[in-house]
Amino acid sequence: MKKKKLISLLLMMALAVSFLAGCSGGSAKSDTESTGIAAKTLDYSNIKIGEITSLVVNDGGWCQATHQSIVAAMKELGIPKENLLVIENVAEEQVAVTNAYDALAGEGVNLIIGASAGYATFLSDLAAQNKDIVVAQQGDKMANLIGYQIRNYEGMFLAGYACALMSDSDTLGFAASMSEASVRAAINGYALGAKYANPEAKVQVVWANSWYDVDIETQSAQTLINQSIKYMGMEASSPAVPQTCESKGAYCIGYNVDMQSLAPKAVLFSYMWNFEPIFKKIITSVAERTATGDDYYYEGGECSAISAFNDTLVPKDIQEKVLKVKEDIANAKINIFGGELKDNKGNVLVTVGETLSDDKINTQQFLVENVIGDWK
């Protein structure tokens, strides 16, 4: 009897242990499985990316710079180029953006990149409704979107520095498009770079009040040239400024993409948007499923790029100086928006030892001390 009881007890214990082991094994298995799914990265070759642009992708300007960066990042990460779906000429209005988004979502994209700041509000709403698709948008931080921006003032600092070194006159020029924070950052970066080379350097700015207008941009360049200004920077999308400079014996820094082929006798080098490092990070975060709507990339260095120098126009010693300054910026030896910094109305913006915060750089509403002109 005792034996039977003992055997029964042992059997029951064995059953209980088996049961428990089976359960925990089962739950452990499911934990492992769920953890495995959560940890499993997407296969890069299967990642699909959608791109929405306001113009065509070979517009010779902003859209081209964005598109080329996406293509380069995809190539670097081994994503087939067929996995990039582009919808061009999307107007900055809700219906157009929503249609483009829906079309891309229907194709099963994992990531949508909006290449125009005007899409942000609409994409933010769309991203909130569909968490399966990550949306990245250039510009300021917005809810539900991965934001990205380039410290364009770093590249423009080099532009101003080079122009000031090359110019016999203390006065340089700047042909600007619309008075918007990133444009003002470009002007200020250019002016501060000029001042770094020549403490007496001044920058006359002329506003086109248009993102793309061949006539007005031509006149902007001509107006500066009429003031005996021979070296100028630009924040404009058409080749009108470089071509006007070329026809009038003046020089400029190209913008968006390498513009040397458009005006080989005028373009010293070009400031270029290089979003590739940013897009690589974004795509990687999408693949690793770590992307969130709080992500924001504000990068300089290789993102704020300059093209190769025009060897026939820029002497080697100046090229070396520019590259040295580029290195100093990268190593934080030069603090572009460091104090003391004044605006051109005499107000102190940053005191000695301080640096303008990124938030204030991104939303700046001033022109620095050595800029001639108003930002409004």
């Binding site: 113009l55 065509v56 002329v206 248009s210 793309y212 006149q219 009108a240 458009l262 002109g373």
Partner: protein, 309 residues
């Protein structure tokens, strides 16, 4: 100061010419009784066809010929709709605007932002270009500007001093009378519409072959509308169109310069000035409170139906 004045005046002429071809073409079209709102679309087609031709062949002559052919072809189609089918001219014009804008972007996509090897360069007229100030302003321009120096007086002479010009004016006032007199008004309307569209195409080519040497979608930037408004502003008179174009262009250019000389005023004000000036001039010159009759062709925008004469 002299150099500054020369620069402003030279630039004003270049700007004016780029809209004058379209404006004068539309004057002829409207004088014939047809209104074409699609000038902007046709300008873009002219710009892209000229650029594509010069990009492929490096021949400016061939490019100009292609521009004229493309413009005339579009004019032929427009005339078919408006003269033969008697379709609503406003609707057709808008359709051509959208069609031209879209098609030009499509066919020019692969050459966007690329510079062509050649463009119309400045030519200094011997002796005349050496006249102080005047020579610098008027006689150091390119061939398209020099052609306009001939087109304006020839247009005036044609419209006001020749029998075909009188018929043209009558065509826009009372086509029924001409039809009754045995004149083929349908052929004439076709011809003038094709001419107007060819001129609009040349206006577009001014931008892609002379002003610059590249193509980009929408690069005319609304000039077609300015050319259209110049027609009424000029009271359907080519010399009036010249004055209007110079007014608009001159104020645009001076406005940019004022950012330097009067920096306290927001730059957007200067951007607005040419449009304000044009609207004001339009009101003053065409407002019915000033005169008892208007020079607008009486039969403008009215399809002619012989059966209902």
């Amino acid at each position: 100061m002299t150099a500054f004045i020369i620069s402003i005046c030279t630039a004003a002429i270049v700007y004016a010419v780029s809209i004058l071809y379209a404006a004068i073409g539309e004057i002829f079209t409207q004088r014939a009784g047809i209104m074409n709102l699609g000038i902007e679309g046709i300008m873009l087609m002219g710009a892209v066809s000229g650029f594509l031709t010069v990009y492929s062949t490096n021949s400016l002559k061939l490019a100009l010929l292609m521009v004229i052919l493309v413009g005339a072809l579009l004019g032929l189609i427009f005339a078919f709709f408006t003269v033969t089918l008697r379709a609503d001219q406003t609707v057709c014009g808008m359709a051509f605007l959208i069609f031209g804008s879209g098609l030009s972007g499509f066919i020019g996509k692969n050459v966007t932002g690329i510079a062509s090897a050649v463009k119309f360069e400045k030519i200094e007229i011997p002796l005349l270009s050496q006249i102080p100030v005047i020579g610098d302003i008027f006689f150091k321009q390119d061939i398209l500007v020099y052609l306009m120096y001939l087109i304006v007086p020839l247009s005036m002479f044609y419209i006001y001093k020749t029998k075909p010009g009188m018929i043209l004016r009558a065509l826009g006032e009372n086509p029924a009378a001409l039809d009754a007199a045995g004149i083929n008004i349908f052929f004439l309307r076709y011809a003038y519409v094709m001419f107007g569209c060819a001129m609009a195409a040349i206006s577009g080519a001014c931008i892609s072959l002379s002003y610059t040497n590249f193509w980009n979608e929408g690069m005319t930037g609304g000039k077609g509308w300015i050319a259209f408004s110049l027609v009424a502003f000029s009271r359907w008179n080519p010399v009036g169109a010249v004055l209007g174009a110079l007014l608009f262009g001159g104020i645009s250019i001076i406005g940019i310069n004022m950012q330097i000389y009067l920096p306290g005023i927001p730059s957007q004000f200067y951007s607005m000035l040419p449009y304000v000036a044009t609207v004001a001039a339009l009101i003053i010159t065409t407002g019915s409170f000033r005169r008892k009759h208007t020079e607008e062709p009486a039969a403008l925008c009215q399809s002619y139906d012989r059966e209902n004469r």
